[in-house]
């Protein structure tokens, strides 16, 4: 007698071929609170004073506690209570950095994430008196070359080792080759590179990316979610292009576009790379 096993095919597998979600990357700026010691009433008074000064700047910003100097925060510290106290003040604590192994365990237990320490930037609270608004995208507007950029470039290079300067407005201007392993982040707007970008280098911008040279590394535009951002380059040889988190690797580019002047943009959820002629 022939008894072959019967295989039941579930109805679910045949139902839909559309994925329930898409995975994308996203950059955001978190506010880091460097703790000198465990929070005490004076700490909360200071927080209240800070919020009274600029009530809107910190609303909805993700906060991270830096535990580097907070040796008196021991594993029994009440992170849950602290998170609640801060949330009462409309501050959302999402994680900690530079903690010891025990501090990190306690933080994880309270639902906070432990972050690798990143590069800190001083937030410009004086210049911005409102929460940062999404700029209306202007992808076709060329970035005007600032007459003073040479001066500001020279000044900037005295302060910071990287050869970058903010031109008029919010564009970040780079005039020297971007080397392998370097990462340039234009967090305020566009990024303009008047040089080539080596393989292994990364360009990241809130707005558009313009490379007046050969783009060989990775370029990620519109990282704060601006899907109208574009990437332009004189010669395409990039490893990866991404706009608002949607990316394309070099093997997915049309071979005829290699080393051509191209622009990349999002069109109806697809990342398109087209020749600029």
């Amino acid at each position: 007698m022939n008894s072959s096993p019967r295989v039941e095919v579930s109805d679910h597998t045949q139902r839909s071929s559309v994925a329930p979600f898409q995975v994308r990357g996203r950059f955001f700026t978190a506010i880091v609170l460097q703790m000198a010691h465990a929070p005490d009433p004076a700490f909360f008074d200071a927080i209240d004073a800070m919020l009274a000064q600029t009530p809107h700047f910190y609303a909805n910003a993700p906060f991270v506690l830096d535990l580097d100097r907070a040796d008196d925060i021991d594993p029994s510290f009440d992170f849950i209570g602290l998170t609640r106290e801060l949330r009462n003040r409309k501050i959302t604590l999402i994680g900690v950095q530079n903690g010891t192994i025990e501090q990190n365990k306690a933080a994880l237990h309270a639902g906070l994430i432990t972050l690798p320490s990143g590069t800190d930037v001083l937030p410009e609270t004086r210049k911005q008196n409102a929460a940062p608004k999404e700029d209306k995208p202007k992808p076709d507007k060329p970035v005007d070359e600032n007459k003073n950029h040479k001066e500001s470039a020279a000044k900037e290079s005295r302060i910071r080792p990287a050869p970058v300067a903010y031109a008029n407005g919010t564009a970040l201007l780079v005039t020297e080759p971007v080397r392998s392993g370097q990462q340039i982040f234009a967090e305020r707007g566009d990024l303009v590179v008047v040089a080539s970008v080596s393989p292994g280098a990364e360009l990241i911008a809130r707005g558009n990316i313009h490379v007046y040279g050969t783009l060989r590394g990775r370029a990620l535009a519109g990282v704060h979610g601006d899907s109208a951002a574009r990437i332009f380059c004189e010669a395409l040889d990039a490893e990866l292009l991404a706009i608002a988190g949607l990316y394309k690797l070099s093997d997915a580019f049309d071979p005829s576009l290699r080393r051509q002047r191209v622009q990349a943009f999002l069109d109806d959820g697809t990342l398109r790379v087209e020749s600029l002629k």
Binding site: S157, R158, I159, P161, A162, P163, E176, P177, V178, R179, S180, G181, Q182, A195, S196, S198, P199, G200, A201, T214, R216
Partner: protein, 271 residues
């Protein structure tokens, strides 16, 4: 005041130590008082390539730790009066190098010499970082192939950001490209990168093109810097590079590996 020049590359095995020895000897031959310093703690090779490994008593680490004076550690080259070697330790490792210690030694050397050549180890960690940190100029040694070019590019990024000059805003470390192990035959076949392609990616001034040459291995075996070999194309290329390093305009000659004569090709295994 001396010029401190780091010979670096990122990639290993491209010819840093050979180049340090050759450029150092070349500068000394031109009358400049030169010292070559080995930064590859634990894997020292500069003393062997210079032919003085049997005369090492005190080394760079001894001087940093105050066990010896600089004068006691410096070795005079037997062939050239103007050439000195500061060897490093073979038993310790890079953790023995401290920024303050290196700074003190380099400053002392600056006072007594015209040129201080720092032979960097491969990589981008402590030893390489300290070798480049106090430099005024850099010779980036690169082979005409993709991995070496990529690593050299990384090193160029570090030279413009992680050196004393970059951090203090005193003008940048002046980079020079030294293309080594160049074989025109393989370039013609497309197996190796062309000079223009390397320059397009690295975009720094070309110091010289040193051809692949069996004389380099022979030189290292006997402990004589290859620039002292009159019959070597590599040696000639290094001599040209030395002129350019001194600021002279010298026409770039692209030499290939020495051609073997008929007899040599028949009897290619030399005694």
């Amino acid at each position: 005041m001396a010029k401190v020049i780091v010979i670096t590359s990122g990639k290993g095995g491209v010819g840093k130590t050979t180049s340090t020895a050759a450029l150092g000897a070349g500068l000394a031959m031109r009358g400049k008082k030169t010292v070559v310093v080995d930064f590859d703690v634990g894997l020292r090779n500069l003393d062997m390539v210079m032919g003085c490994e049997r005369r090492v008593v005190f080394d760079f680490i001894n001087v940093i730790q105050g066990d010896a004076k600089l004068k006691q550690a410096l070795i005079t080259d037997r062939r050239l009066d103007n050439l000195f070697i500061l060897p490093t330790s073979q038993t310790r490792d890079k953790d023995a190098l401290t920024r303050e210690g290196v700074e003190k030694v380099i400053n002392e050397l600056r006072n007594d010499f015209d040129y201080v050549l720092c032979d960097s180890p491969a990589g981008i960690e402590r030893g390489a970082h300290l070798a480049m940190y106090f430099a005024d100029e850099a010779v980036v040694v690169t082979n005409p192939e993709v991995s070496s070019v990529r690593d050299s590019d990384r090193v160029l990024g570090l030279l413009s950001s992680k050196t004393r000059r970059a951090e203090k805003g005193e003008g940048s470390v002046k980079p020079h490209l030294l293309l080594t192990r160049y074989d025109p035959g393989r370039v013609a076949k497309g197996e190796m990168m062309k000079v223009e392609d390397v320059l397009e990616i690295l975009s720094i001034p070309l110091l010289g093109i040193v051809p692949e040459s069996p004389t380099v291995l022979s030189a290292s075996n006997v402990g004589t810097p290859v620039v002292l070999n009159q019959n070597s194309n590599a040696g000639t290329a290094y001599a040209d590079a030395v002129s350019r390093l001194m600021g002279e305009q010298t026409e770039m000659r692209v030499l290939g590996p020495e051609r073997r004569g008929l007899l040599q090709r028949l009897l290619w295994r030399t005694a």
